[in-house]
């Protein structure tokens, strides 16, 4: 397994809520990445963003790891929740909040500010 894939895996496992996006938490470079981050914000969930744009290998390794071909990809407590369509739907029907509670207890409401972290080979 590549070093980059290890870093991606570690980020997924160690951060409570992770959003692999095009762009950053402050400036999405893609409409779907923005939709997914909006859905998380609509519940007051903070998250850690990872920008896949700096290196095409990030997206390749992520998709190899998850067998999910598109960006964004949202993880809660290490579990792939889905892309923008799924996260929006789950935010609207209450299931996203239930998943956050199930995986993270109450901590997701208090996990500090949004941030963007880098993964590098």
């Amino acid at each position: 397994m590549s070093q980059l894939r290890d870093q991606i895996q570690t980020t997924i496992e160690s951060e409570p809520v992770v959003a692999f996006v095009k762009g950053t938490h402050e400036r999405a470079a893609c409409g779907n990445s923005l939709r997914a981050m909006h859905a998380l914000r609509s519940l007051g969930a903070s998250f850690t963003a990872v920008d896949v744009l700096p290196d095409p290998a990030i997206r390749q390794e992520l998709s190899a790891l998850t067998s999910w071909p598109t960006i964004p990809q949202i993880f809660i407590g290490g579990e792939l929740i889905g892309g923008a369509d799924i996260v929006e739907e789950l935010a609207a029907n209450g299931e996203l909040e239930a998943k956050l509670n199930e995986k993270l207890g109450d901590s997701w409401r208090q996990t500090g500010a949004e941030k963007t972290v880098a993964v590098t080979a």
Binding site: G31, N32, G82, G83, D85, I86, E89
Partner: protein, 76 residues
Amino acid sequence: MSARLEHLLRGAFPDASEVSVVDRTGGGDHFHVTVVSPRFRELSLVDQHRLVYDALAAPLDDGSIHELRITTKGAT
């Protein structure tokens, strides 16, 4: 291109009560696909979307699809 996607989806979901492909921008690479099929019953949304991704693996891999929105429903 929309016709190709619809053909792939109809092949993968022969029992679908609805398959639609919308070219969102008219540019032939941003699509919104909707599939209503009893195969989705009892599956999580992640697994439902995985089945759609599997059906569209070729155009996803060769770059024909730049952006894909997916709506899935189990038939009622």
